[in-house]
Amino acid sequence: MGEAVLLASGEAIAARRRFRVLRKLLHHRSFMIGFIVVAVMVVAALAAPLTGIDPDGMRFRARFRPPQGAFLFGTDQFGRDLLTRTLYGAQLSLWIGLSVAVLSGVFGAAIGVLSAQYRQLDSPLMRVMDALMAAPAILLAIGLGAALGPQTHSVIIALAVAYIPRTARIVRSSALVTRELEFIEAAQVSGASSVRIMFRHLLPNAAGPLLVQSTFVFAYAILAEAALSFLGIGPPPPAPSWGNIIAEGRSYAVQAWWIMLFPGFAISLAALGMNLLGDGLRDVLDPRLKVES
């Protein structure tokens, strides 16, 4: 029974390349909503220069303008255009989200698959992961971010380290199941080395859960970046990120509510979009949840 489910899971992944999964995704409502939201945000972020306004350009005569006319999202305490800053902020925030998702995915997958393949590595590696997981991800990131200094790449490193353990656990558990299946023994019988077994057999079979987890990490990272910036250890000003626009607007929250509103809305939307996308991927890649259109 258990084995049948696992086999089916592996087979669902195989079918992906045959476009069946793609077709299912196209018919999956929450995946498509998430995908459209994320796609629109990425396009908007890339289109930021089209506003023709310098995101850091200050206009002291146009401070605290509410959203209207020339300034659709209003201006902040230095008279900078918030629409432009939110769009450029999307570039930075999405970049951080993507980098963290990719880094934690790559390192998490490597650690997970190593500890599943080399049993003597399992205990030391997993105890380190447990130690990292014992602290809440955001606290860990605050600590690391503070130690590395307020820079974009230190935010990325801090968040990646914070999310690696979860990814590693997921890949490890998937690989532990796969390595007991007969085709691993069959590969050994064909003379495949451990390295080959890890990369050609264990990792591709863990691709589904890994992909889903990475989309969630993407969403968490955007939220966490905002939290770090709010605490003053995010990407340094004047570079706009959603988090530090909100952080700078905090002092004027009552008089100029629009400063915090639009980037806050963007963060929620991005997180929602990535989560919907991830949910959709999980539904389609995990055969235990039968969601047929």
């Binding site: 084995e3 195989a14 299946l181 069959a186 050994q188």
Partner: protein, 336 residues
């Protein structure tokens, strides 16, 4: 051990013992087993689940986890080399290259995320250094060799599109990809239905003759042995209880356990309400049985059987059995 032929056998396992670490201590799964397979020969190993037949086969390729396995005695000589002394790298060139293996369950023996071409090609690229295009061409030829229709199209499919019988053919194609000298087939037909079983056995036999391979066929099915092997080895509770040419074994089994196995085969010409079964079950591998391990279930058990562990005794041309009373009775008969 009765030698298969006069020359040195391709594979000679000598006095092999395999022990596994369990929660209750060290358990002996295979106890001083010896066997020999000549070039082009088909050896059958038969026994119940837990008799040590699969463990013996996996030991030949050294596929047991080193941390929980001990092989305190024994040698596994293959082509003049002791396999137990080879390095991991040397073992890898033998696995798949010179000795190949196919397994019981074709449903889980193929990686669901790789195409058939990838999986057949893996072995070819590893051992023969073929590039991808050549490996794919060879894969198509191999699929044709194992009689998969429409091979050129099948080769790019994923395993879930194939039936159990087809998958087992693919497994065979992978196994013979590098022209191994020895093929170990561990219950290759058990998971298949009867008509497919016969096709797979036919295929294996034809390939064996065509490629001149030696084959070790492991099964619990006496019918499969009768069809396929020339010589058979019966295992019980980790020990060899009888080895014999197949025809002689079916004509006149020596060991009472072999009697029991043969009696349990349904006969076409006799109506029985219930097939005769051997009472009891195979002993727990951690249990200590002082005398003959079959004595608790044996219908002809004698007092000495319970006390002294019997040795394998010569019981005729190319025959040995681990049952002193029966062997003695046979000898008396021959003199008379």
């Amino acid at each position: 051990m009765a030698a298969a032929d006069n020359t040195t056998p391709l594979l000679a396992v000598d006095d092999l013992t395999v022990r596994f670490r369990t929660d209750e201590g060290w358990m002996t799964a295979v106890d001083r087993v010896s066997l020999a397979v000549g070039e082009g020969e088909a050896l059958g190993i038969v026994g119940e689940s837990g008799s040590g037949k699969s463990v013996t086969a996996l030991s030949i390729l050294r596929l047991h986890a080193a941390a929980t396995t001990r092989m305190p005695t024994g040698r596994i000589m293959y082509g003049g080399r002791d396999m137990l002394g080879l390095s991991t790298r040397e073992m890898r060139t033998i696995r798949g290259g010179e000795i190949a293996m196919i397994f019981q369950d074709p449903m889980s023996s193929l990686n669901p995320v790789l195409t058939i071409a990838d999986q057949i090609g893996e072995s070819l690229r590893l051992h023969q250094g073929l590039d991808q295009a050549t490996a794919r061409r060879r894969a198509v030829e191999l699929l044709e060799l194992v009689r998969i229709p429409d091979a050129a199209r099948r080769v790019d499919e994923y395993p879930h599109r194939l039936s159990g019988g087809m998958r087992q053919r693919v497994m065979i194609a992978i196994a013979i990809a590098c022209r191994p000298k020895l093929l170990i087939a561990d219950e290759p037909t058990t998971a298949l239905d009867v008509t497919i079983q016969a096709q797979i056995l036919d295929l294996l036999r034809d390939l064996q003759t065509e490629l001149g391979m030696s084959v070790i066929l492991i099964t619990h099915d006496m019918g499969v042995i009768a069809e396929f092997a020339r010589r058979v080895m019966v295992m019980y509770a980790g020990r060899v209880v009888e080895t014999s040419p197949v025809s002689a074994l079916f004509r006149r089994p020596v060991h009472p356990y072999t009697d029991g196995l043969l009696a349990a085969i349904p006969k076409l010409d006799v109506d029985v309400r219930r097939l005769p079964a051997i009472p009891g079950s195979i002993p727990d591998p951690t249990a200590v049985i002082p005398g003959c391990r079959y004595s608790p279930r044996c219908p002809i058990v004698e007092e000495t059987c319970r006390r002294e562990a019997p040795e394998l005794l010569a019981a005729g041309p190319e025959r040995e059995a681990r049952c002193p009373p029966r062997v003695a009775a046979l000898a008396v008969e021959r003199v008379a």
